[in-house]
Assembly symmetry: C2
Homo-oligomer: 229 residues x 2
């Protein structure tokens, strides 16, 4: 029943591409591989930031909440992602977001000291991290650009994006258990609205949901929707 996981052995993480084994060793010194269960919290917003996390397997969400109890998913992390790198060079850093596993996941926690010693001075690593940051920045800017478009456009774009990011091979099943609430939190809407939309799509044969696994039957239609009229 469990779909095959996309596992990334540490030495072939793209951040460490072309690194000698002993160099990789330096970069993960004191590191701790952690297995997370569905919904397990890696760290909370406000916690002192003592380590970065390298995602090895599965998916995690970065969440920000406001006083009114609204939650907003600011990022979906996937294998290869580095979480918290920007923070490490600050004095006495604290995580600005909460990080929660979606489905089971595995991350490598690397202590701040190791980061400061082995990562920060390395121009190549910095560059690779910058590339990731650039992606994330672009992505969130694109989302801002889309915020005025109809809900269906935003949800379609999200699903297409998640599918690209997480699906194994060409198969159109999201291998992580995403709830409608999470979709709403990501596109800035409400559960009810997302449900109505996705029910329509299901009726039209575009989607199918089984046990929180979303299967896209007609990806082309979704892509079309994500462009809007």
């Amino acid at each position: 029943m469990q779909p095959p996981k996309k596992t990334i052995p540490i030495h072939q993480l793209s951040v460490f591409q072309d690194f000698k084994p002993e160099r990789v060793e330096e970069c993960i010194r004191g590191g701790l591989a952690v297995t997370l269960k569905h919904r397990q919290v890696l760290f909370r917003a406000g916690d002192p930031a003592t380590s970065i996390a390298l995602v090895l397997q599965g998916a995690l969400k970065l969440v920000k909440s406001d006083p009114h109890g609204n939650e907003s998913i600011v990022h979906f992390a996937s294998p290869g992602d580095t979480i918290g790198a920007l923070l490490m060079t600050r004095k006495d850093p604290h995580y600005p977001v909460t990080c929660v596993s979606i489905g089971s996941a595995m991350v490598l926690k690397i202590p701040r000291e190791t980061y400061l010693q082995a990562w920060a001075p390395d121009a190549v690593l910095q560059q690779r991290i910058n590339a990731m940051l650039y992606q994330r920045m672009s992505h969130i800017q694109d989302e801002k650009l889309q915020q005025r478009r109809p809900l269906q456009v935003r949800v379609a774009a999200l699903l297409v994006g998640l599918l690209e990011k997480y699906s194994n091979g060409a198969d159109q099943v999201l291998p992580i258990p995403i709830t409608r609430q999470e979709i709403a939190d990501s596109v800035g809407s409400t559960v009810e609205s997302v449900i109505r939309l996705m029910s329509d799509w299901t009726a039209q044969g575009i989607l199918r949901t089984e046990d929180r696994q979303i299967e896209v039957l007609q990806i082309d239609d979704l892509i079309e929707l994500s462009y809007g009229e």
Copy 2:
């Protein structure tokens, strides 16, 4: 009539804090100070990214547009800001946004080569740039969190933020000529809606606008509004 500008001499830019003059010299080698008139374009989305820009004076907006002609202001740059640093380490980079002056501004354009030689390998500079990136990332995430809140909350928050960022001293006048269209583009709304809102506020004596200079008469009310009920 022109308000006093906040000028930042190059050697006292916060990025270069505690740098020896000759080190600063290395960092701005080949640099070119450019004066921009209101609405002048520094670079367009899609242009090859040949230099970073250090904002010395005035204000600039970073804009992203979509095929439908919608514009979204993703960032307001102020003196001390570094624009484009994330791009420089990419192979054959292109600007992802358009950068336009708001009011008259002055920037220092620093060639990519200089950046790669003098900035990229310097851990201290990297750290300072990271700090800026962190701010921007946090800010745009906060905006995403606010996207479901009523328009008045978003506009109030924007104005309060801009005031903090740009006003000289304690005086509550925005020293840059921001249009309602730009406010709308920033909060993700329409001109008309922003106008109606600000007209109300003007009627209530919270704001005053004279020749695109927005003066906030009752900042406390605005701050209150920015929290929402």
